[in-house]
Symmetry: C4
Subunit: 344 residues, 4 copies
Amino acid sequence: MADHQTQSRKADHIRICLEEAVQCETVSTGLERYRFRHCCLPELDRCDLDLTTEFLGKSLQAPLLISSMTGGTDQAKHLNQCLAAAAQRHGLAMGVGSQRVALEKPEVIPTFTVRNQAPDILLLANVGAVQLNYGYGVDQCRRLVDMLEADALILHINPLQEWIQPQGDTNFRGLLGRIATLCTQLPVPVVAKEVGNGISGVMAQRLLEAGVAAIDVAGAGGTSWAKVERARAQTPLQHQLGTTFGDWGIPTAECLTAVRAIAPQVPLIASGGLTNGLDAAKALALGADVAGLARPFLVAASQSEDHLEAQVQLLLAELATVLFCTGVPRVRDLAQAGVLETRG
Amino acid sequence: MADHQTQSRKADHIRICLEEAVQCETVSTGLERYRFRHCCLPELDRCDLDLTTEFLGKSLQAPLLISSMTGGTDQAKHLNQCLAAAAQRHGLAMGVGSQRVALEKPEVIPTFTVRNQAPDILLLANVGAVQLNYGYGVDQCRRLVDMLEADALILHINPLQEWIQPQGDTNFRGLLGRIATLCTQLPVPVVAKEVGNGISGVMAQRLLEAGVAAIDVAGAGGTSWAKVERARAQTPLQHQLGTTFGDWGIPTAECLTAVRAIAPQVPLIASGGLTNGLDAAKALALGADVAGLARPFLVAASQSEDHLEAQVQLLLAELATVLFCTGVPRVRDLAQAGVLETRG
Amino acid sequence: MADHQTQSRKADHIRICLEEAVQCETVSTGLERYRFRHCCLPELDRCDLDLTTEFLGKSLQAPLLISSMTGGTDQAKHLNQCLAAAAQRHGLAMGVGSQRVALEKPEVIPTFTVRNQAPDILLLANVGAVQLNYGYGVDQCRRLVDMLEADALILHINPLQEWIQPQGDTNFRGLLGRIATLCTQLPVPVVAKEVGNGISGVMAQRLLEAGVAAIDVAGAGGTSWAKVERARAQTPLQHQLGTTFGDWGIPTAECLTAVRAIAPQVPLIASGGLTNGLDAAKALALGADVAGLARPFLVAASQSEDHLEAQVQLLLAELATVLFCTGVPRVRDLAQAGVLETRG
Amino acid sequence: MADHQTQSRKADHIRICLEEAVQCETVSTGLERYRFRHCCLPELDRCDLDLTTEFLGKSLQAPLLISSMTGGTDQAKHLNQCLAAAAQRHGLAMGVGSQRVALEKPEVIPTFTVRNQAPDILLLANVGAVQLNYGYGVDQCRRLVDMLEADALILHINPLQEWIQPQGDTNFRGLLGRIATLCTQLPVPVVAKEVGNGISGVMAQRLLEAGVAAIDVAGAGGTSWAKVERARAQTPLQHQLGTTFGDWGIPTAECLTAVRAIAPQVPLIASGGLTNGLDAAKALALGADVAGLARPFLVAASQSEDHLEAQVQLLLAELATVLFCTGVPRVRDLAQAGVLETRG
Ligand SMILES: Cc1cc2nc3c(=O)[nH]c(=O)nc-3n(C[C@H](O)[C@H](O)[C@H](O)COP(=O)(O)O)c2cc1C
Ligand SMILES: Cc1cc2nc3c(=O)[nH]c(=O)nc-3n(C[C@H](O)[C@H](O)[C@H](O)COP(=O)(O)O)c2cc1C
Ligand SMILES: Cc1cc2nc3c(=O)[nH]c(=O)nc-3n(C[C@H](O)[C@H](O)[C@H](O)COP(=O)(O)O)c2cc1C
Ligand SMILES: Cc1cc2nc3c(=O)[nH]c(=O)nc-3n(C[C@H](O)[C@H](O)[C@H](O)COP(=O)(O)O)c2cc1C
């Protein structure tokens, strides 16, 4: 695919995610089926609350990830820099969007590189796993990581999106072996991530056996890439595929419990449809170490830096409220028994 | 019943199915309760996908059946020829509507005969099973098959429709025995099929013991023949019976699991309320060998050949999408464990 | 209560049941949770269907009861005579409304007496059980039966209605004993019946131990007497009680299964919210011997004799349709296993 | 917090509870899942019904509590006096709102003191448990009780409200110990009470171990204090916290069953979302000894004394109706087995 196509696609994605109805409708994250058990006597003060955590060897001030979104255009550069500054201010993790275009067209590298704004954060490089079948190897991946001074590389795995989008890359043959090779050779950890259709327990197991260091389930219930691509469809057939498969995927909550069941210790990111800090806290209580949000950060950042700052503060306050009202002082302990319940 | 009545009834059916609200409302196919388990790493390329299957000894390019619908009028002839041409182009199976009128009025035979358009397809003759009580025997059935150069004969079994329609044939006594006799004597296989109220596990067992070679469950959730006949009612009582029994029947998904449970190997067609390739794939994953659709093909064919072609291509693309995103290369393997799940 | 009050109350009841929204809303009969298992090959003809049954020693042409409704006014007389004529024409059972007024005011006796119109039917006298605490004994009850030439006496038991209505009779003390005495002394069988709040398994047991010969569950889901009395409220408090308790009671379907469980053989009438022959058939399949309907007959009879005749024919046709499409030739056999299923 | 702030907050609360949408929406009390088993033959007369009970050593004419609401302003004084007069007339229990302001600003004491109007009732003093961390000890609490001539002291525990409200008191450290000390030293019993988010079984256990004499679960489903404080928010963040946590908490019905399971004998108050006497009766049948209502009394009292009187009479009539129609003569026996059922 030509570079300018990739760029215009990136611009499309931002616009569509902001302006069109691309959220899942008949499938939800499943988080609404859970409820925290209120603790009327938390035996805590505000200052006892501890949102810090560790992930992939770095400290976070809160278990929040600004999920991989963008890069490659001027608007993307601006967004990435805002997001990175917010991540740095608040000690959050951050990912950038797929960096493929940056290898193909080096002049857009600065639209991704945010280390200056964010010297201390856990920063995650990003590329589609399927590119390992389209010319990418350890060298390319290393360049993506180096370009960003990233702490880890996210391989996003998006078969449905590739399938539906015009000229998508649909050769997913033998990817698991190539991921395994990459994991042994790349100097930083590899994170396997979906983009909104979820990673099942079975697939998580295979990915972990292949050597990935962490999983981001990126489940169904939030931004639907089938619907995003529907908005970009070039033929009626693509459009109708986007409709038929707009709510395809495994709900985020179900991914989390399934992955946690097969891999109790694996570093685990929850994303896909988390809308606020209460959702994030539920995801953490279901076993995630970090909660990733994409669209909520995009919406705020595209308004202004102040909106983004307010959004981050709200998320932190919501997380703190959950800790206070469940009587759990440390966010790392939210997954203990008896804190989250299924609704009666 | 006089011939012209049969003909005008056929024309009515087409018009009513296209223009009036005759879909089930308070009962659904039950397929919406299932969800495919997304496979983020399918290890497949587009070209690895194999939609082919075998059914009743013939190869199909895809496990799709254009369900029995029409014949007997000029419009029906046109529709049948379009449908047959599409089936031939794409290697699908096809059935024609009840051929009773063609025996009674030979000049309408050409409205059914589509072998010229479709030399290679699995082609299914059709007559109401109840006619075995109204003068039909193996000779008549053989003539229906021969007239069509059909590969098999569908006996549709429609007690509710006969009951509700004006002058319906309601003597269903001793039919099982007559079906058994027919099965031993007819040179082609006999398929037992409902028309939208479903075949239970118990009835499937009896039909198989009688010697039918295949079952088409034709369950509830799609076109409701009680509602179609309500639209043709000649008395208030008929009209109200159509209302009371408009949602009668066993949902398609329940028929499939019940029939598969008692007959793990029987050639099995799923029909009744399948609206797209995702529904069809779910029906296959529940154990059907072939998915039959009536109304969706009728709607498309009645618009234009291009619409019909687009409809077929969409169904094929939807089936392929399911294969790709479940990581199951061959449509014949969709029914394996772990592919379809009940929604959480 | 003065006689003319009783009479005007009766007129009110008819008007309110016809004109106001007095059906249950948040509670339903529970019959909608069941579905008949469609039988595609019934092996029956129309003439094989047998709707006849026996109840309390009399033959019925169909297991239908025109439930106890009215008497005491000119309009009531007209309704009763229409209903009785229809019952006679079709061999149905029929009850009249509470005959208390007829003892107090003999000139209204002719508004109840329908034996002339219906020499052969199972005819049921009716009085409130609570009257046994307000001066009624075996003599009065015998006069009610004799006046009607009735085959049995229904004692309706309506604590909620009495409680809510202006000047209701709320002394229900020691009634069970008085019912027991009555049962030993009255020459005809006694039927215990609610009026829309249902009879539980426990209460049915007690009533049977007291000697009643049959039970009419008259459960929740249809006409709500709390709502009827709300429409007649004389104070805001009565009105609000009618609202709070408008959906009180045990759903008809639950009453039936509970009573059948404790008394497998007792003659059992289902009433309360049955709207058509499909509901009636479900009630029979749950174990009732006879299905009683009040409001549907009232609505039809208040329009015209033709409407009433059409209503009866529709009910019979609906019952027959169920028999045909379940392959059960005799309505008495509807309760056998495998005919009715809970919806999946 | 300055005194006048407390006062204006109290005025705000009344106004907001009366005028704005501050009821829970996506969470309900859970009482709607239960239904009383109708008893068609109660064997009771109106005069057999006994609504009396005992609670904390005092007799009540009915198991109803006018829940703690207000004080500190002129309007509050008027409301408290109306409510107290009604409580006295009908022998109900009553609580006043938090008395903190009365210690800080002695001139408002008369807005709380209602003993003159209500010499005989069970009267409950009220203060936030968290004040034990903000300078309150046994002396202050004793003064609150004495000021009111109260029979007991309610400690309300409201972590979510304190957390969300401007300048809330959020130091809940070590409260359990301080509550324990208070319980040993205060001459009257201490009642632990939430304000609408519920007390879990686990927390009830701890509170009882600390020595509290009774529990008021004050569960979710009614007035939501997060929503009340949202209406008073001074910043967008507070407002959004109010939205996110507006439906936080454990439904009242679930609190009741959980607390009853761990403490079969503890004096137990049900409050939180009870809207009428049928709800109250369900709460009693789930094991509560007394049912507390806040908003319904507030709405009535703010209209007129007549409205309040009508409201009380309606509640009593509704309770009596439940007794009559379940055949349970004494309200104290509503919790016996077989009276309340889960809806089918
Ligand atoms: C505008 C936009 C662009 C995205 N681009 C990428 C991407 O390049 N790489 C990736 O791994 N995920 C990408 N995602 C997916 C998110 O990282 C995330 O997994 C998923 O969308 C859930 O996000 P939600 O919070 O919007 O539901 C993108 C999401 C959005 C909204
Ligand atoms: C217009 C029309 C005519 C039909 N005629 C017949 C028929 O003659 N014989 C038959 O076996 N089924 C007939 N069917 C039933 C279908 O083959 C099928 O079993 C059932 O309607 C499910 O179709 P659906 O996909 O429309 O829900 C007809 C359906 C339609 C829509
Ligand atoms: C207008 C009217 C009057 C009624 N009067 C009586 C009555 O006098 N005695 C009685 O036992 N039931 C009476 N009922 C109750 C019915 O017999 C029946 O048990 C119950 O209402 C269920 O009827 P439904 O079919 O309207 O839901 C009356 C019902 C109606 C609609
Ligand atoms: C206007 C108002 C003021 C309240 N103030 C207090 C209070 O000061 N102390 C307290 O313990 N509970 C207070 N509550 C809470 C109630 O006592 C009760 O626990 C809860 O709101 C359930 O009430 P509901 O019936 O309105 O749902 C107040 C409630 C209302 C409506």
